[in-house]
Amino acid sequence: MTKPESFITNGIRIDGRKPEEIRPITIEVGVLDRADGSCYIEHGLNKVLAAVYGPREVHPRHMQKPTTAIVRFRYNMASFSVEERKRPGPDRRSVEVSKVSREALEPVIFTEYFPKSSIDVFVEVLQADAGTRTVGINAASVALADAGIPMRGLVSACAVGKVDGELVLDLMKEEDNYGEADMPLAMTQTGEITLLQMDGNLTPEEFEKAIEMAQEGCKRIYEIQRNALIERYKRDIETEEEPLETPEEEPVEVETVVENEAEEETSEEVESE
């Protein structure tokens, strides 16, 4: 990978997007049968899986909290998900990403309903192409809903970056590697910010604008998350209408691919704002 001569030519980014356009997103809900909830997202070239277990008993016991559930979050990159093979197991980066991702989701979970329990979120990055922590949070948020964990609402995450001195939404790999700033942000449905990080170089004015852009991105992603869950919910209702075909003991998990073009169109509307 080498640095492109310019990142934006005639208002178009190197992958054909406009500055405020997010990459295509595909969401599948309930893709794993052992986990209590799960979600697979393809976001640009990122391929990320999230699974949720819980509320369940806490091991080791001394981590139990008497009045609330604990939330644990493990972000993990597959060894083959990046150019240079990554050694298995947590490194310092994944420890930090796990921490801020957990904190991005905790505010919307009704942990107080499940004292002494844990809610365990696992995010596996199968292919990485910039923005994996935001994709992981988006997937985890949907997986939590799929697991039936009581929540105040979904959390949606998106990054804003700076390339060629201009703010752009949702950096892809080249933009991330050679860009001037990267600012991931996560937001609740009510607009509260639950994750905020930045590195690079932004003026206070750029920072203010970046927050607004990221919020717009999160709103777009929220719609896609919501539609994926509705699609999944519809399927369950349809399934209930034909109870004879499904074995009673082990309900078959029919996978839903929410790839409807409607959303892609909407996200382009946003770009042209």
């Binding site: 060894s79 083959f80 150019e83």
Partner: protein, 263 residues
């Protein structure tokens, strides 16, 4: 959440079915679940495949990088096989260093590839004694629906068949055309059976594994020879049972291999 009482009921139910010559999912004792393999799913990897074997779901990714050979095989490429039983795949898997099950799975998969001479390691030498291609096989188990061994073996072989050597990326190729494929010489296939009382079943689900005694994995090659065997579990097997499983494995792996070569 798992519950001891539920588990006991589940076991009783499965035993009852066995006695009626039935399995919970309606399969014959010697029948595999539906298999869905997709290759080249990870662009960043030199080779990759995902497999769904019933509810078992895993991804095998192959990364290739230049590195140093082992001192005792200075002209051979190196294979390093690792399997991650991710905590997302089952409520009983935990984060942390690989436990004995993961180590055993990885080592058996590795032996199958190595002993069948599936990869021509001599062709992976760049500079004798100094630089060879290192093949990293990483298997990430995403959902444990049982019989991870066979799923991992199939996905690995499928991925290896599509793997290319990144000669251009490391500027180590001789020609200027496309990267050449990994030199594959054999197609090892693992077949795993398990005993349930006196019954032998193939391709156990995770529920069946819970009540099963012992698993026996036979890895067979294109020419029907056996390149690896592993008994895993605390119940003994009789020579007759072993012989029977070997015969089943021979048949089954032939079927799977045919399916493979069509991939």
């Amino acid at each position: 959440m798992n519950d001891d009482v539920m588990n006991q009921l589940k076991k009783d139910y499965l035993y009852k079915l066995m006695l009626e010559n039935k399995r919970a999912d309606g399969r014959n004792f010697e029948e595999y679940r539906e298999i869905e393999i997709q290759t080249d799913i990870i662009d960043k990897a030199e080779g990759s495949a995902s497999i769904k074997l019933g509810n078992t779901y895993l991804v095998a990714g192959i990364k290739i990088q230049p590195g140093e050979p082992f001192p005792d095989t200075p002209d051979d490429g190196v294979i390093i096989t690792n399997i991650e039983l991710l905590p997302m795949a089952s409520p009983i898997f935990e984060a942390g260093p690989p436990r004995e099950d993961a180590v055993e799975l990885a080592r058996v998969i590795d032996r199958g590839i190595r002993e069948s001479k599936a990869i021509d390691l001599k062709q992976l030498c760049i500079t004798p004694g100094e630089k060879v291609w290192i093949i990293f096989i990483d298997i990430h188990v995403l959902n444990d629906g049982g019989n991870i061994m066979d799923a991992a073996s199939l996905a690995t072989t499928a991925a290896l068949l599509k793997t290319k050597i990144p000669e251009k990326q490391y500027q180590l190729g001789n020609n200027n055309n496309d990267d050449k494929r990994l030199p594959i010489r054999n197609i090892p296939i693992a077949t795993t059976a398990t005993t349930l009382e006196n019954t032998i079943i193939l391709d156990p689900t995770n529920d069946e594994e819970q009540i099963a005694g012992t698993k026996l994995t036979i890895i067979t090659n294109t020419n029907n020879t056996i390149s690896a065997i592993q008994k895993s579990g605390r119940e003994p097997l009789t020579p007759t049972q072993i012989q029977h499983i070997t015969t089943l494995a021979k048949e089954q792996s032939q079927k799977l291999r045919e399916k493979f070569l069509e991939v």
